[in-house]
């Protein structure tokens, strides 16, 4: 607990908490899913009230202490939209969410289309919260991959009325931490596999490829001694093949 990296995280959290105390509105912090950023969110949540926008099904393993504070973008919006002030800091991990609620919207970045929740922009427009974007810094590869986190304050003065084009531009600015990781995917980016599902054109293909991978691995089990997972392949084969033939649309998961 007292390693140098934790000391740096503590210092960063202390500095942010001091800044937040000076600001009348708690901050909105958008982070990529890395070991360092999760550690940061855990420390921050001990120092001040925090809600996390993320995927509890992956956080249960990556950072279990955050699970209780984790919610979907739309649920968070419903909780706070009637309040005059943002009641707590919001830490958002947009790269963990494929698209769970109707707040998700497709946006083009270069030649790719991503699906992001618009709730972060809505929070910014309504509460004028100070925004911090996390920048993941990676070192090493594979099992030796390690990460650190840099926080950048975004000068954000979003007018209440935005054209669709301007809105999309803000959405892309806020989602930059995840988009940057996608441009240079690294082993230390924990949401790497999940994030690929957010790219619209890839959704069905990638889900089906993932299904093929699971099928192939179960099938490899047929050659190994013991009933599992070869037995599972025999039992699951029909269902997996049926899922593979079915259209799997991103919209269904929105």
């Amino acid at each position: 607990m007292n390693s140098p990296s934790n000391w740096f995280v503590q210092r960063r959290v202390d500095r942010l908490v001091r800044e937040c105390r000076r600001s009348p509105v708690p901050p909105l912090i958008i982070l990529p899913s890395t070991a360092a950023s999760l550690r940061f969110a855990e420390w921050l949540s001990r120092a001040m009230p925090v809600a996390v926008i993320g995927n509890p099904r992956v956080l249960v393993d990556w950072a279990p202490s955050l699970c209780a504070r984790t919610t979907s973008p739309l649920d968070l919006w419903r909780q706070v939209k009637a309040q005059p002030q943002l009641p707590h800091a919001v830490v958002s991990y947009p790269d963990q969410l494929v698209g769970f609620d109707p707040s998700f919207q497709a946006v083009s970045v270069g030649e790719r289309r991503y699906l992001f929740s618009i709730v972060e922009v809505m929070l910014l427009m309504k509460f004028r919260a100070p925004v911090y974007l996390g920048e993941a810094r990676f070192r090493g590869r594979g099992e030796k991959a390690s990460t650190s986190l840099a926080l950048h304050r975004l000068a954000a003065d979003v007018p209440a009325g935005l054209t669709r084009q301007a809105f999309d531009a803000w959405l892309v600015r806020l989602m930059q931490p995840a988009i940057d990781c996608d441009r240079r995917p690294h082993d230390g980016w924990l949401a790497r596999d999940i994030f690929r599902l957010k790219v619209d054109d890839n959704f069905e293909t990638i889900l089906k490829l993932r299904l093929l991978e699971i099928e192939a691995l179960l099938r490899l089990g047929l050659d190994l001694p013991g009933p599992v997972p070869g037995q599972a392949y025999r039992e699951l084969q029909a269902e997996l093949q049926a899922v593979r033939r079915k259209p799997l649309l991103l919209a269904e998961h929105g």
Partner: protein, 354 residues
């Protein structure tokens, strides 16, 4: 005029031969100067193999560049072959163990030559064409130009040999024709290393990855009894191509009650043979990018059940949307110790785990 023309042809041929012979030497000599001159070899076609394969090969890029220039030269030359020149051309430019080929042809079944996009593969197809006759043609099977526009030029070339070589495209009607041809003891050359729709393929272990493969060759072999003979074409000296045969894969060795398993196991055997060839000579394949893009597989998963379960658990938990689609898979994963959650996904350094 004719004598002058043939003289120029001879000069052109000599220059072309000199170019072919000198290319590797010049490229490798220039490669020695590369650190000082600071240039990079242009990509002729295809990507480099993944880093774990490259570790075994020094000066890979220069060698691949030279080899691919040679292959291109051989293929370009082969595109000029006319209908009446086929036998002479193949005799002069393709080195192959024809005795073994005759043995396979006389074994009472058809033969499936599995040819990847490796080296001057076109010359392999021309070799197969020479095995055909008007009464018993050979066949080449590949994707139609509607899927791969570049294949139109192969269609145009193979039309010259219409009575001896029949083009079959990767579509249901031609699959039936391929089956009929094999049952008539004819031979078929099939390009097996490219998948147009990975989501409709099967994934086989290949260079510690799960690589998308089609089961077409295996399916045809099992249905017809024809063996699959892997055939790899490499550029050789003196403007010739050499056909290297892999280990023939006999359908009789795959007699499991489950036909899908037989197709899978045969396809896996074919790719295992191809992997051996690529380990020996990786420079000639143009689809390394597909390997780099393929999903990694812990090689221990092929031997160790716990590792295999970890690989399955990792994928299931990274794709909860998939588990929602397959309740039985979800139930099965949850029934495993620890809910099938692989321990290595957890962050050992996270404060909550101390």
């Amino acid at each position: 005029m004719r004598s002058s023309g043939s003289r120029w042809n001879a000069v052109g041929s000599a220059l072309s031969g000199a170019n072919y012979a000198l290319t590797p030497k010049l490229v490798l000599a220039a490669d020695r100067l590369r650190p000082w001159l600071g240039f990079a070899w242009p990509p002729v076609s295809g990507a480099n193999p993944p880093a774990d394969v490259l570790t075994n090969f020094t000066r890979y890029e220069a060698t691949a560049f030279a080899m691919r220039l040679r292959s291109r030269q051989l293929q370009a030359h082969a595109f000029e072959v006319g209908a009446g020149e086929l036998d002479d051309y193949v005799q002069a430019h393709v080195i192959a163990d024809r005795e073994r080929m005759r043995g396979w042809m006389n074994a009472g079944t058809g033969v499936i030559y599995a040819c990847p996009h490796y080296g001057p593969f076109l010359l392999g197809a021309l070799l197969v064409a020479t095995l055909g006759s008007a009464a018993s043609p050979s066949h080449v099977f590949y994707d139609p130009p509607e899927s791969v526009p570049d294949n139109a030029r192969f269609d145009a070339l193979f039309q010259h040999f219409g009575d001896r070589l029949n083009v079959l495209h990767n579509e249901p009607r031609d699959l039936v024709r391929a089956m009929r041809a094999l049952k008539n003891r004819e031979c078929l050359s099939i390009m097996f290393d490219v998948v147009q729709r990975p989501a409709d393929s099967m994934l086989v272990p290949f260079f510690d990855r799960l690589y998308p493969a089609m089961g077409g060759a295996a399916y045809l072999s099992l249905q017809s009894g024809a063996p699959i003979v892997p055939a790899y074409v490499v550029p050789d000296a003196a403007r010739k191509a050499r056909v290297v045969f892999g280990q023939p894969i006999e359908p009789g060795q795959f007699m499991h009650a489950n036909r899908d398993k037989n197709v899978y196991d045969m396809t896996r055997a074919l790719f295992a043979d191809f992997q051996q060839q690529l380990i020996r000579a990786p420079w000639h394949w143009i689809y390394w990018a597909n390997v780099v893009a393929a999903t990694r597989l812990d090689p221990d998963a092929l031997r160790d059940r716990a590792t295999l379960m970890t690989e399955i658990g990792r994928r299931c938990h990274a794709t909860p949307e998939l588990l929602r689609q397959s309740p039985r898979l979800q139930a099965w994963i949850q029934s495993l110790p620890g809910g099938g959650m692989p321990a290595d996904i957890a962050l050992p350094s996270s404060p909550s785990r101390g």
